[in-house]
Amino acid sequence: MNTSVSIAGITFKNPVMTASGTFGSGMEYSEFVDLNKLGAVVTKGVSLTPWSGNPTPRVAETYGGMLNAIGLQNPGIDTFIERDLDFLSRYDTRVIVNVCGKTTKEYVGVVERLSDTNADMLEINVSCPNVKEGAIAFGQDPGALADITKEIKKKAKQPVIMKLSPNVTDIALMAKVCEDAGADAVSMINTITGMKIDINRRRFVLANKTGGLSGPAIKPVAVRMVYQAAQAVKIPIIGMGGIASAEDALEFIMAGATAVAVGAANFRDPYTTEKVIEGIGQYMADNKVSDITELIGCVR
């Protein structure tokens, strides 16, 4: 039975990854999950210098999901390379580094610093709804998205995944723009902008007013976007948004995702990634699927 998939020439032992920002760099969850079993660890977004993120409260629960407005707190690329990439180098798993910045220059700066590290791939976060500058501004404008993709591709030594925002009218267009600009893959979806109001205190629950919605609630939107993007582009898609079980993951794969990532579900059950991997194997065995790649995009 083959569960390995390949993206831009890089092979992953299975299609199950961690969604950026929900798994740190794997350290905290390594107490629960054997990182060697994962297809890849996708790290929390890293910028050129340390970012302190947004004020608290940064998280809020919603029906079947959650809002977050972390604001990309991170230690900056130097500490990240020294500590996080070094930690991950001890594991037999792929490492995808999620990159953020306020300007194209900052993104490119991080990408360049990563050139001669053990990072296998780069995921460019142009879709975080929780920071004022950069991020989502790039992800909602086709022109800006094309430009930043090209700039990054010029300097990147590793394959580049553009992480797309669901807060757009036409996800297929955004995926196409990335493909045309040279991206090696796209990942989707980042969180959907949402809001929660505390009616007793008559104020926003999040200090940032809005936050990004994730969790099972958003899965149907994410599956639809993966499907639409898969009809529009040939480059591989990494799908995410509400995955909490193997069944969820298989929906994304059948819709056209080559790999999938588990995000908010880790917070409820730290063993989710391992369970998803096992469950996919079980489904393949039960349904006599010898190669997972047969399932990619099989529903049309």
Binding site: G24, T56, V59, Y63, P75, G215, R268, Y271
Partner: protein, 263 residues
Amino acid sequence: MKIREKSAIISQECLCNGIYSMWIETNAAEYASSGQFISLYSNSDARLLPRPISICEIDNTINPGRLRLVYRVAGAGTDEFSHMTAGDRLDILGPLGNGFLAPVTERITPETVALLVGGGIGIPPMLELAKSLQCNVMAVAGYRSDKEMFLTKELEGAGRLIVATDDGSFGTKGTVIDAIRAEQIKADMIFACGPKPMLKGIKDLAEDMGIPAYISMEERMACGVGACLGCVCESTHIDDHSKVNNKRVCVDGPVFNASEVEL
């Protein structure tokens, strides 16, 4: 060692208006210490995030493997827990956080005088702390009124107890700070848990007294294990994790030396 499992509810009782006490049986008890907390997960599929609740008592002697949690009904999740009864199952993750004694940089000797201060629903974690400290323990507990007092007997059993009530219906009228001042308490260190204004008062008081204060902080959480950066509090020094000034309440805390955090 953190345990993610379905715990079993052993007993549940209402201590006073809106305050519940629950004993659960869990493997987490073996690894728990005072000031740590447990993330409780709702049985509703609509509510995905954990409810962090401090450990109030650890029973490792009579019925090993049991933990006591005392909590206030604050919303839908805690309301759900309050309706559970013996035999019900409750998903948990824990023990989490550092606990009271981990950040203590001073040596504690049998002669040490430790002042334990709890305000309202900040009182429960003081009980296990009082029981586990091998020194002179003085506790100050603040309530709204005599009608909303709980855990006083248990705290008296562990050392001297001073009570303050907002309305003066029992003990000193006023806050725990008022009570400490009124009783002119002297101590070598303070441990505190309660609402933010109280913690701020304790921080100032400790500075005045020239002694360290270890305070337990609260913040909204998602992962509970340090990965999501949801639960940070502002720290006076650059934090180790993100190199900014944000410590994670769930792993760097919830107990901090008061001088480490901005309040």
